[in-house]
Structures are given as C-alpha cells and as structure tokens.
C-alpha cells in the first residue's frame, strides 16, 4: 500500500477488462464502486483500454499512486484482447509494486448473475464451434453438444449467461426441451460480457483476504493450443495474416 491510500485507510482496486468484446476499467474501494467505464471497440482493445483507465482515475479524482491492488480478466476470451488487458495489468502492478489478481471471465459472469436458486452457468464463445463454461468452480471447454450433456444433469432452473449462451441459446433450449427438461433462461446482452465492476468487486475481496497476487506468475486462460500457422514473412509484414483474435 502506498502512503496516499494508507492515509485514507483503505485499498483502492483497479480492475481491467479486455478479454471479450468489451473493454473497461473500474475502481473499487471500501465504499464500493468508485468509477467504471467501458466500451465495445471492435478490435481496438489496445486503443481504448488505457484512456478508460485514465478516465476512471479522473472521475474518482485519484492518481495512479492511489491504487493499492489490481484485478484483471484472465479469460477465456479473445486471444489478442486478452493479452492487451493482461499486459497492461501486469505492467501497472509491476510499475507500482502492487498485487494483481486474475479472475476467469466465466467466474465474473457467474457472480454478475447474482445469487439464485438452481444453476447458473457462464458460457463464453471460443469461436470455431467451441465454448468454455463454468458451473460452480469448474472451467471447461468443449462443443455446445458437450455442454448440453452437462446441462441435462444440473439442478433446474437453469440460467445461462455470457456471449456463448446468447450465440448457442436456441440450440441449448431445443436440446433440453427435446430431452424433456425445462427450457433454460438465457440472459440478455447486459450479461454478454463480464461487467468490469463485478471483476473489481471480486478482485477487491481477494485483496481483503490478503491473497498474494504475484503479477509475474499470472497467465491467461487460453484453453486452446496456439495455431501453428507460420508467418512466412517472418519479420515485419503480412500483419493482416497474423491477426488472431
């Protein structure tokens, strides 16, 4: 903790989200949410993220020196966006000597759905016919069919959140109803991407618990091996062919 917030008596946590289609930043303290800002930038995660961090600090009338801990979305999500967020979070944590907590996007999505009876399943679209999901503490990857088989065994009522739930919602509903189960509830666009304010709240709780949060050790959850398509122009051109999101 730096002097600034030690004097105020509490930690301020900066949360960074850029693992999915949304980028955002939020500040959380003992008093709850101080500021949050997000955008849907297409592929421009790197362009939008840093100004949003500056914006939340500005809104809360704080300087970077007031930050006492960080949280970042570790994915699963879009590879390049994910790296933009994790690189920024690692750099700020290193530069200011602060703990950094990594949380999976599915965990943030589940928390965003709130407490309720039955089962909450967070589903993130991994493209190429695959999804990642969390039900409880697990994090798994597979086809929507594989997830359906798991959904059949869960305690109803089912709530599915995340962009994967929206994208494959009709398919899940059809298969569950076909198997004689109740149709799952599919959350709307407001729970398509992990809300950065929820990431901030969960990160703040980790900081309060005194978890270590080593920024050097943090690794994104890619959940999939790298594509080994060689960039023949090994050095500096053919950028477009190398784009992988």
């Amino acid at each position: 903790m730096t002097m600034a917030h030690a004097e105020r008596g509490g930690t301020v946590l900066l949360a960074i989200e850029s693992a999915t289609l949304e980028v955002g930043a939020a500040l959380w303290s003992d008093d709850g949410l101080l500021a949050t800002a997000s955008a849907r930038p297409g592929r421009q995660h790197a362009e939008r993220l840093h100004p949003l961090i500056a914006e939340v600090l500005d809104v809360a009338s704080l300087t970077p020196a007031s930050i006492g801990a960080l949280a970042v979305d570790l994915g699963p999500g879009l590879f390049t966006g994910l790296r933009v967020g994790v690189a920024a979070a690692k750099a700020i944590a290193f530069g200011l000597g602060l703990p950094l907590y990594g949380l999976h996007s599915t965990v943030v999505l589940q928390a965003a759905a709130g407490e309720r009876s039955g089962s909450v399943v967070a589903v993130v679209d991994l493209r190429r016919g695959e999804v990642a999901w969390s039900a409880g503490a697990s994090l798994e990857r597979g086809t929507p069919e594989a997830l359906t088989a798991k959904l059949l065994a869960m305690t109803p009522p089912l709530l599915l959140v995340g962009d994967g739930a929206i994208r494959h919602g009709a398919e899940f509903t059809e298969r569950l109803v076909g198997a004689g189960c109740a149709a799952p509830e599919i959350a709307g666009e407001e729970l398509a991407a992990p809300p950065v304010a929820v990431l901030a709240r969960l990160g703040f709780a980790a900081a309060e618990r005194g978890e270590r949060g080593d920024p050097f050790a943090l690794e994104p959850a890619y959940l999939r091996d790298a594509d080994v398509k060689i960039n023949w122009s090994t050095r500096h051109d053919e950028g477009a062919a190398a784009v992988q999101v």
């Binding site: 690692k90 530069g95 090994t234």
Partner: protein
C-alpha cells in the same frame, strides 16, 4: 535471457540524464532497454524465442504473442536492474517507449499495451516508435561520429531497404526489395535445403564448407536502379537442385549466399554513389552475416567510403535502438497519445 552490454553498477551519473525505457516486441524477440540521453546504452536485454519457433521453420504468430506476455515482466525487470534502476525510479524516466509497427499485431500489442500502462502508472510520456526507424538509430548508438550523409543497408527477415541518412532523425528511403526480403530468402532456401531455422546462420555455416563458384546463380535486377528482388533467386535454387542432384548442399548454400551478398553489396555501393554518401552502414539481422560484412567493407574501402558494421547485438532486433529513436522522437514531435495502437504493416517513415 541475454544481456548486453552487461550489468552496470548502481548508476551514479549526472542527475539530469534523460533516461528512456523502451520495449520491443514486434516479432520473436522480447526486449527491453534503458538508454540515457538518446545515446548511452545503460542496459539492453533480449529474450529470444527462436527455439520456440525453430521446429515450425518460421515464426508462429500466436506462439510469439504468448511468449511475449510470459517474458514481459522478467525482461523489463532485468533491463531496469542492469541499468541500476528499479520500478521506484519509473516516475523519473523521460519516457516509456514501444515499437508500434511494423510487425506481428499480436506481438506488437503486448509491448504497446505494457509501455502505455507503465507510462500511465508512472506519469511519464509514452512514445510510439516505428521499428524500421529504430534500426537506423542502432548505428548512432555504436558509432556516434558516423560521417554523413551515410547509406544504411537495412537487411532482415522482413525488410531489405536502402536509406539515405543525412543526420540522426533525417533520412530518405532510396530503394528496397520488390518481393522477398533478403532474410526471408535465407529462411526459405535453408528450409528447402533442410538446413533448419533461422536460415541466415544455417546457410552461412553450410556455406563455409562449400564452393561459392559451384553454381552461377542469377544476380536479379543487378543494374536496375536501387530496387532488388530475391524471389527469383529462391526459385533458381529449387530448379538447380532438381536439375543437378549431384551438387552438395554446401555448394548450393555457398553459391546462393554469394549471389545474395553480391546483389546487396552492389546495390549499397550504387546507392552511395547516387547520393554522394561518405559512409555505408549495415543494420538488421542479416547484417550479422560474415561474408556480407567482409565484402561490404572491402568494396566500400575500394570506393573510398567508410563502413560502419554494428555488433551482432545491434544488428538484430533490440530495444536500445527503439529507446534512442524514442528520445529523438520525443524532442522532435512530443509524446504519443494513450489511445494509439499498433500498425502491423507500417511503412518507412518520411521526414
């Protein structure tokens, strides 16, 4: 991790020195460096991923992006420590810089995002640097008394450029390859001959045991201005090997290398003559090639020109050259905005 020129003691120089921390992640090297006043290298750390990509015979973009993120903090930490600094000195830096292009987008963004974040955290300017312009500053770091105007032959896996250097930060593009870069031709031919990756050192090693006069490979576009072409030469290697199976790999490698070196030396001297240059510099990874260095030096001397051949560490991608370039950029055009990104196909900058 390779550290050059070696750890410094806790730096005790004049308090007013302007220190720039730069990151370079455009391709398959994760690098960080601290440079004082744009010309004194305090530290230069390079973590190469070459072993990760070798079995694929080329750079795999997604593997490169992942490795950059993994090496990011250890490399920055090492660069600061070797310069006698630590993170608490961050707010004293003149700037934090990063290569913003050209390069692999997923690789560039790791350095850009981290550099912007450090600049924001420490409250110092961020400076985005063109990688090609950065290479030109390598000679300035090692040979500050270089005689201008100079011609820089910038040859690597991704570029083959001839540049007129009038002063630090003042230059013009004279010519370049119309197809494959010289280093790319080395990689492709080495792969075809089964010599492994990266191709430059592999071909150079095989060529030592071969006869450069065994095959008279074409010297494409030799007398056609300052542009060059290497894809025809690569095709000629394939055709020759098929037609003459009795040729040894060593002889083919030596003859191929001789042809590339011939074209590059010829073009560099033609460029020097065309602009009345007083010296010729090498830059880029192919600049580490022994026969190219020897032939260029010899030919330039015969033409009454000085040559400057940077160390291998300065030829290949490093962050010290990016820091030096950033220092000049900061003085000339100020900081880059926090909403700037990366540009994979960024061209040579015009001044």
């Amino acid at each position: 991790m390779h550290c050059w020129p070696g750890p410094f003691d806790r730096w005790g120089g004049p308090a007013m020195a302007e220190l720039v921390l730069a990151l370079e992640t455009s391709c398959d090297e994760t690098a960080a460096a601290v440079v004082a006043d744009g010309r004194h290298v305090r530290s230069s750390v390079v973590s190469s991923q070459v072993d990760l990509h070798a079995r694929f015979g080329g750079v795999v973009p997604e593997i490169a992006g992942r490795a950059h993120l993994e090496h990011l903090l250890p490399v920055i930490d090492e660069a600061l420590a070797s310069a006698g600094l630590n993170r608490a000195d961050g707010p004293r830096l003149a700037a934090v810089a990063a290569t913003c292009g050209p390069g692999l987008i997923g690789s560039l963004l790791v350095g850009v995002s981290a550099a912007k974040a450090l600049a924001l955290a420490w409250g110092v300017p961020y400076v985005a640097v063109n990688h090609l312009e950065g290479h030109l500053f390598a000679s300035l770091l090692e040979a500050p008394d270089l005689e201008h105007p100079a011609v820089v032959l910038l040859v690597s896996g991704g570029h083959t450029l001839l540049v007129r250097l009038d002063a630090p930060g003042r230059y013009a593009l004279l010519g370049g390859t119309v197809d494959d870069a010289a280093g790319e031709a080395f990689d492709k031919v080495a792969r075809y001959l089964g010599l492994g990756y990266p191709g430059g050192p592999a071909i150079e090693a095989a060529a030592r045991r071969g006869d450069p006069a065994a095959v008279a490979f074409p010297r494409p576009m030799l007398d056609e201005g300052l542009s060059c072409s290497f894809s025809g030469l690569k095709t000629a290697v394939v055709t020759t090997v098929r037609a003459r199976p009795e040729l040894t790999t060593e002889d083919v490698a030596a003859s191929f290398q001789a042809a590339v070196v011939d074209v590059l030396v010829h073009k560099a001297l033609a460029a020097a003559r065309a602009v009345g240059a007083r010296s010729i510099c090498l830059a880029g990874g192919v600049g580490a090639n022994g026969p190219l260095r020897a032939r260029l030096k010899e030919a330039a001397a015969a033409a009454g020109l000085a040559t400057y051949l940077p160390s291998r560490a300065m030829c290949t991608d490093n962050a010290a050259m990016i820091a030096a370039c950033a220092f000049a950029r900061l003085e000339r055009s100020g900081a880059s905005p926090l909403d700037s990104g990366a540009e994979p196909s960024m061209g040579f900058p015009t001044t």
